[in-house]
């Protein structure tokens, strides 16, 4: 199976804080790959590295054979026309209607006449169930509708890769169900490759073909959902089953509880 995205031994730091220490993963073409892990482990950072918005300290980030971290400004923007990202906030342009938001990348990157643009936009909006909301502004949309409108904009130019950053965060069960269905169906019908960053385990495991679990600054396990269920790694099991204590401790490191209550030692 061909991989659309590959990361090899990626190290990344923010200032003095190390985020990744040797992350390696693959994203198979045409599949839904889920990136999961505890909050703050750098899942969104991973998407920004793949999109070339951040550059690793060392290692390789490859997309369709292009080494993203070595591309100059012009070639990087060319490669980005082949990928897309659904941001956690939706990131719709607040001064444009839903229609104009979806039309924006088409108008920017093609010379299509306006009637064709309108047809394409209506098709994209229909695929996410928002054709009737084309005239609304982002401030008039619910959270779920904004996410779907942003999804329509993400697929406006038929990208090869779409990256979803926490698509289910803050969604009610109905919106979540719609998004799960959309991610799966768009992936299948448009032949996309999808990367879903999330910690909504049940939703993600139901649509993912390939799952990577991040923790401790690297990928601790990857494989199919079934393979991960059998994984012996305690951390993986703690994460998948939502156990409150384990390798990721419930308690933030502190001195002995009894000593603390009795006022022994320094730092009371």
């Amino acid at each position: 199976m061909k991989n659309l995205v590959e990361l090899h031994d990626v190290h990344f730091s923010r200032g003095d804080t190390s985020i990744y220490e040797g992350v390696s993963l693959v994203v198979p073409e045409g599949k839904v790959t889920a990136i999961m892990g505890p909050s703050g482990c750098g899942k969104t950072t991973l998407l920004r590295l793949i999109g070339g918005q951040l550059r690793p300290s060392s290692g390789q980030v490859q997309f369709a054979g292009h080494e993203i971290n070595k591309l100059g400004r012009g070639p990087l923007y060319e490669v980005r026309k082949r990928m897309s990202m659904l941001f956690q906030s939706g990131a719709l342009f607040s001064d444009m209607t839903v229609f104009d938001n979806v039309a924006f990348p088409i108008r920017e990157h093609t010379d299509l006449p306006e009637n064709i643009v309108a047809t394409v936009v209506k098709m994209k909006l229909d695929s996410v169930g928002l054709r009737g909301a084309a005239h609304l502004f982002p401030s008039e949309l619910s959270g779920g509708m904004a996410r779907r409108a942003a999804l329509a904009r993400s697929i406006a130019l038929d990208p090869e890769l779409i990256m979803y950053d926490e698509p289910f965060a803050g969604q009610d069960p109905i919106s979540m169900g719609m998004l799960v269905k959309l991610i799966r169906s768009l992936n299948r019908t448009l032949g996309l490759t999808s990367i879903v960053v999330s910690h909504d385990i049940h939703e993600v495991m139901s649509i993912a073909d390939h799952v990577c679990i991040m923790a401790n600054k690297r990928i601790v396990a990857q494989g199919s959902p079934q393979q991960l269920e059998q994984e012996g790694n305690e951390l993986v099991q703690q994460f998948l089953h939502g156990e409150p204590d384990g390798p990721v401790p419930f308690h933030y490191p502190a001195k002995n509880y009894a000593d603390d209550l009795l006022g022994k030692g320094a730092g009371q």
């Binding site: 920004r48 060319e78 980005r80 897309s84 990202m85 990131a91 719709l92 342009f93 607040s94 920017e108």
Partner: protein
């Protein structure tokens, strides 16, 4: 020793900031021209940045001109030189108050709005989404706003001076009784096109460049949180005001010193 270290670190931070601001502006302005895409964006920004700042500029200009007329008259009349009120009002406005006060008002009205708008675009990931759609936010967002500020501020400064002179006329001539013909003819004889008007214009171009640049850079690099945007907006007004006043002294010394 610690003081020295802090001083060195702060100096390096300032230099780094200036370098980054220069790179940002260079990348925004230098590149393949796209007039068809740029023109509608520029027109929109000229409206937002320029036209929407007109009211505060015109009202402030009128009052400042009226105050100049009143103060000038009370001083000049003691020496029997009230005919010099016209050139006094005109030269004060064209050389100094027009460019400087317009720049200060522009920083407070349009500069802070630019910073807050761009900072909010960063906080809501709109700038990141532009990048991911292969649209350069520097060319799409920063460049039209920069040109709009650069074009509109000198025009606003002219309007400020014009209505200020009218304010001085209303107070000096119509209210306090300075001779109408003397007011205008002495002004016409005293004000030189190149020396007074063009130098004032050059000043407002420099202020427009600096204020718009600071506003855009502060917005573009704002920490994407509520306190971060608030701090960036405040910094825009403070840094712009200080830059305008400092540069005004330098330019005045070069032009009229």
């Amino acid at each position: 020793m610690k003081l020295l270290v802090n001083l060195g670190r702060d100096t390096l931070n300032v230099l780094r900031g200036m370098g980054n601001a220069t790179i940002m502006l260079f990348q925004a302005l230098v590149g393949k021209p796209q007039p068809l895409k740029m023109f509608p964006l520029l027109m929109r920004q000229l409206y937002v940045v320029g036209v929407q700042s007109m009211l505060i500029i015109l009202v402030s200009g009128l009052f400042i001109g009226m105050v100049l007329g009143l103060q000038g008259y009370t001083i000049l009349v003691d020496f029997g030189a009230e005919q010099a009120l016209g050139p006094m009002v005109a030269l004060s406005l064209l050389r100094e108050l027009g460019p400087v006060v317009t720049a200060l008002l522009f920083a407070g009205r349009a500069g802070s709005a630019l910073t807050a708008e761009i900072g909010l675009m960063r906080a809501t990931e709109q700038l990141s989404s532009l990048e991911m759609m292969a649209v350069d936010p520097l060319r799409r967002v920063i460049a039209p706003r920069f040109w709009a500020g650069f074009i509109s501020m000198p025009l606003l400064a002219f309007m400020f001076s014009a209505i200020g002179i009218y304010g001085g006329f209303v107070v000096g001539v119509q209210w306090l009784g300075v001779d109408d013909g003397a007011f205008w003819s002495v002004m016409q004889a005293s004000v030189e096109w190149r020396y007074d008007i063009m130098n004032g214009f050059i000043k407002s171009l420099v202020f427009a460049f600096v204020v718009t640049w600071i506003a855009l850079y502060k917005g573009y690099t704002a920490v994407p949180t509520s306190p971060g945007i608030s701090a960036a907006t405040t910094q825009t007004v403070v840094y712009s005001s200080l830059a305008v006043l400092g540069l005004d002294f330098v330019l005045t010394a070069l032009m009229f010193g």
